[in-house]
Symmetry: C2
Subunit: 189 residues, 2 copies
């Protein structure tokens, strides 16, 4: 049971779950794609649910890492970062293989709020909210909590729009709206 083997399994599972969905992906398929036997798979993860949770955790770390780094690269001041977070979003939308937010999909497939998977998905969103709230506070806005929640509404809405194809440039729409909200929030200060 090499420790890196387990990571490979999670990696592959993440990819397949993201592309295929959770219920629609059977353990047999995962076993086939990872070139590992079923028993070995179940040695690493006692249930499918455990594997899903591991995949979501990896996704959370990776996405938040990429996203915050990208935002930091695109702008230096918290004020500007609140805007370029929508540019980073647009880059994500245009990536090959983009098909929505894994956590939204997870909570859609495991709907019950008490379900572990649903809660882990919600936790990811909460961490993102904390991140944006921190930016808003650092930028000196009054009521950074409300501002962050509203910016996240735009972000989540843009993801949905990107998946459902309502708009040619959902991230751009969101960024324009965000600029208005930011200006208005600043005026109140």
């Amino acid at each position: 049971m090499r420790p890196n083997k387990k990571d490979e399994l999670v990696e592959k599972a993440l990819e397949v779950f993201y592309r295929n969905g959770f219920h629609a992906t059977g353990m047999d398929l995962l076993v086939r794609e990872t070139c590992v036997s079923k028993t070995s798979m179940y040695k690493h993860f006692r249930t499918k649910e455990e594997l899903i949770l591991a995949a979501l955790q990896l996704r959370d770390l990776r996405f938040r890492g990429w996203y915050t780094a990208r935002v930091a690269a695109l702008a230096t001041t918290p004020q500007d970062q609140l805007l370029v977070m929508f540019d980073a979003l647009g880059e994500w939308f245009r990536e090959d293989g983009f098909c929505g937010c894994m956590f939204v999909k997870a909570s859609a497939e495991f709907q019950h709020p008490d379900h572990v998977i649903h809660q882990q998905a919600a936790a990811h969103k909460h961490l993102l909210l904390d991140y944006v709230t921190g930016l808003a506070r650092a930028a000196g806005y009054p009521d950074p909590e409300t501002l962050a929640r509203q910016l996240l509404l735009l972000k989540e809405g843009a993801i949905t729009a990107a998946v459902m194809g309502d708009s040619a440039d959902p991230a751009g729409d969101a960024k324009a709206a965000a600029a208005i909200l930011l200006a208005a929030a600043r005026a109140v200060a």
Copy 2:
């Protein structure tokens, strides 16, 4: 084959799919819940996919009917309706048994953009966009298309937030943000 029997089946399927998910709901369960034999079920709908499409169509008609009626009841002018659409949204969130947008969930479970179910889900969102664009145009805003797209970002984001529990009152946050966007759009005119 009474015509109303088919409607009952769609009705029940809609409820179970909404509560349980699509892949997670087997035809056996639906047959059990509708008190109809499997053969009869497959007489009305040749495949599960056909049943899902019928359920989505009913949901589309019903939700848009309810939503536009509720908005019309809460305000008379298009200008005010663009705001109270978020009050109606909040009422929906607080309904018993609310568990997100059926079309978002459908497109999450049937991800491929070419899939019939995905497209039918996208069509619903497009009809809603047309509705809001119409309101924005009637209210006399310049660039009603962009304004409508941005308001819908807030609406979709609020739905996600309501499902994932980021916020105590996502509809209220969205309404406040919408008010700012509306004022800014008016100022440009």
